[in-house]
């Protein structure tokens, strides 16, 4: 065997395996021509397939935002419906590029499955749906009342703990499924239905007269829900992280889908940086310098998305709550494009 072959063999042996297999999701997305997003089955406001064959919802809009950033074209997405038991595998096996099914950001989800949370797209939490006619103003008014809850989540335990801690003598009426819980609520077996806000808005929309039902102001748990990517690909993490921050920064700076072209002429230095008029902040992560302009042009800012999918412009009419910007009473916050 020649010395050259020996050297080559030795090199091959010593090469770090991680480097050899280093993932580059951005490159494969560009090559494929679409971003593949994992979403859950029908979830009103987050990922729902309309009768017109069009997807809508906050998770879907985030995917479109990614496509706008990568391709200058928000339509270049491919939607993959995943059940909760296979969603993480679908991400770690490269079947999807990003999970946009709004998985809860918890310590175990964040550290135990080889995935990484990009940030919080939606601050969720357990709330209460009540009939307007009941004239309840807060969770305190639930004393001596029946509250329907499904046992397929931690909602029951969390509500019990909350009532106990706040000395509210409400009675929890458990049902095995969300559908059965809703049925009992509709039948009038309980005055309130408790579940995560993200579920409640969808449930309310299925009621015969949604406007006769309101959410109490109390949100009794914290449940941040986020976009999730694979570990081991820092550039893709940066692309997905800054797509989220771009949406929030645009709202804070007042750059919307309808005024973004006008804003190109702004003399506000922060707006000029965001839109790529001044400086190039995209190159370091493989994007064009006008990545955020394309993002806003393609899908709008965070408020545009929220209003369209969950808020005032949608049938769900969910208030911004914690999802308002930090400067407007909420806690949505993003570092600047600078």
């Amino acid at each position: 065997m020649s010395a050259k072959v020996w050297i080559l063999m030795l090199l091959a042996l010593l090469l770090p395996p991680a480097a050899a297999a280093r993932a580059d999701t951005l490159a494969s997305v560009k090559q494929r021509g679409v971003v593949t997003c994992g979403v859950s089955e029908q979830s009103a406001g987050f990922a729902a397939l309309g009768s017109n064959g069009q997807w809508s919802g906050l998770g879907i809009d985030y995917c479109r935002a990614l496509a706008a950033v990568v391709f200058n074209d928000p339509t270049k997405i491919s939607v993959d419906i995943l059940t909760p038991d296979i969603r993480i595998g679908a991400l770690t096996n490269d079947r999807v590029d990003v999970l946009a099914d709004l998985m809860p950001w918890t310590l175990s989800n964040d550290t135990e499955h080889g995935v990484k949370f990009v940030g919080t797209l939606f601050y969720d939490g357990e709330g209460f749906l009540v009939g307007k006619a009941a004239a309840l103003r807060s969770a305190r008014d639930l004393s001596d009342k029946q509250v329907c809850v499904s046992t397929d989540s931690t909602a029951q335990a969390d509500a019990a703990e909350y009532f106990d801690a706040n000395n509210i003598k409400a009675h929890l009426l458990p049902f095995p499924t969300q559908a059965a819980t809703l049925g009992a609520y509709v039948a009038g077996n309980c005055i309130a239905l408790t579940a995560d806000l993200s579920a409640l808005v969808g449930l309310r929309a299925t009621l015969p007269t949604p406007n006769d039902h309101v959410l109490l102001p109390d949100v009794i748990t914290k449940q941040p829900r986020g976009i999730v990517v694979r570990q081991g690909d820092d550039r893709w993490f940066d692309v997905t992280r800054w797509t989220l921050y771009g949406l929030l920064d645009a709202e804070e700076l007042g750059v919307t889908q309808s005024n973004v072209d006008e804003m190109l002429g702004s003399d506000n230095i922060s707006v000029r940086r965001l839109l790529g008029v001044e400086g190039d902040f995209g190159a370091a992560i493989g994007l064009n310098k006008d990545w955020a302009y394309q993002l806003i042009k393609g899908v709008g800012n965070y408020a545009d998305l929220f209003d369209r999918d969950l808020g005032e412009q949608s049938p769900l009419k969910l208030p911004r709550g914690l999802n308002a910007l930090w400067s407007r009473g909420g806690i949505q916050y993003s570092p600047p494009v600078r």
Partner: protein, 341 residues
């Protein structure tokens, strides 16, 4: 002769590759464990954030965060060397492994988050540009500032922010411009200006160094948004998670009311959120290579976020800083951490 040269080349190549191999393959956690201590860097010393006493011991907000990470890794907060790093070489030192993390760098921006092979794990301190004035001015809000001289750094965003602020408020002022931060202090003390505008973290440090600190006040308004937090190098998600969840543990502990003082009395607590934080329920550290009681070790060693804040910026320092945006999200601030579940 030729054989010898080849052999030497081979040995050199092998050594180089082994080095590369260990640089890439060995996890930061393994390296830290093998070394027996954490190497924790931060930006320049700044009163409240990092200061050295006469015995050469470092203390401060940054130092406490470093100690928290050491407690997570070793169960002991003392196994750490704190390295205040001046100048612009901090990213290079992080990338080459000379430090394992930066407890505090410059404000979190897209450039710093994406351009230097490093990432912010989250926000540990919400900063922002504010105003420092003498109490004799009798103002409680920046919106009352009018017809005065403002010391501010020239040539950057800070002076632009001041111009925007006064223009939008239709208030009159004159700029007193300097190139170095130190000059702002000297000029302000000499009465060359009535107010100083700079990041609150820096104004706070400046105020603390003034002989009559209590006579000066940092106004509550922030005219820019800035935050900073711990940074780790790219390429090691396990370490990213360890540092991130050290931060989140501090915040979550404050939210559920677990402190360094009461933690030992909580072993019989029933609240699930407290039990999980203490490692009495679940096995949370294992996936990161940590012991199941890593959160308990953190809190026992340094306390929760509120305790760290009070220790370094609270009333006992004689120069209290308002929590402001650094209060918990449940108390009007922006500090938030995902739950331990």
């Amino acid at each position: 002769m030729r054989k010898m040269a080849l052999l030497r080349w081979l040995v050199a190549a092998a050594a180089l590759l082994l080095m590369l191999n260990s640089a890439f393959a060995a996890s930061t956690l393994e390296t830290v464990r093998a070394r027996g201590k954490l190497l924790c860097g931060a930006a320049d010393p700044l009163p409240g954030f990092a200061q050295e006493n006469k015995d050469g011991r470092w203390s401060g907000f940054d130092v406490d965060f470093c100690r928290a990470v050491a407690a997570a890794v070793f169960g002991s907060a003392d196994k750490v060397d704190f390295l205040p790093l001046s100048g612009n070489s901090r990213f290079a030192l992080l990338q080459t492994g000379a430090v394992d993390l930066l407890a505090r760098d410059a404000p979190w921006t897209m450039r710093r988050d994406s351009g230097y092979g490093a990432s912010y794990v989250g926000t540990s301190f919400f900063d922002g540009q504010g105003f420092l004035v003498h109490q004799s001015l009798n103002v409680v809000s920046a919106y009352e500032l009018n017809k005065l001289r403002v010391c501010v750094l020239d040539g950057g965003d800070e002076v632009l922010n001041v111009r925007d602020f006064f223009f939008q408020n239709q208030a009159a002022y004159s700029e007193v411009l300097y190139e170095d931060r130190e000059d702002l202090t000297v000029a302000y003390q000499a009465g060359l200006c009535d107010a100083v505008s700079a990041s609150v973290s820096w104004l706070y440090a400046m105020k603390r160094a003034l002989p009559d600190a209590a006579q000066h006040v940092i106004l509550p308004e922030r005219i820019s948004k800035d935050s900073f937090g711990p940074m780790v190098r790219d390429g090691d998600d396990q370490w990213f998670n360890i540092v991130k969840w050290t931060l989140f543990t501090l915040i979550d502990a404050e939210e559920v009311g677990v402190t360094a003082d009461n933690i030992d009395s909580l072993a019989a607590a029933k609240t699930p959120a407290i039990r999980r934080l203490l490692g009495l329920e679940g096995t949370f550290g294992a996936a990161m290579g940590l012991s199941p009681d890593f959160m308990k070790n953190i809190i026992k060693a340094v306390g929760n976020y509120g305790e760290i804040f009070d220790r370094n910026f609270g009333a006992n320092t004689g120069v209290p800083l308002l929590r402001g945006q650094n209060a918990l999200w449940t108390r009007g601030g922006l500090l938030f951490a995902p739950p331990v579940e």
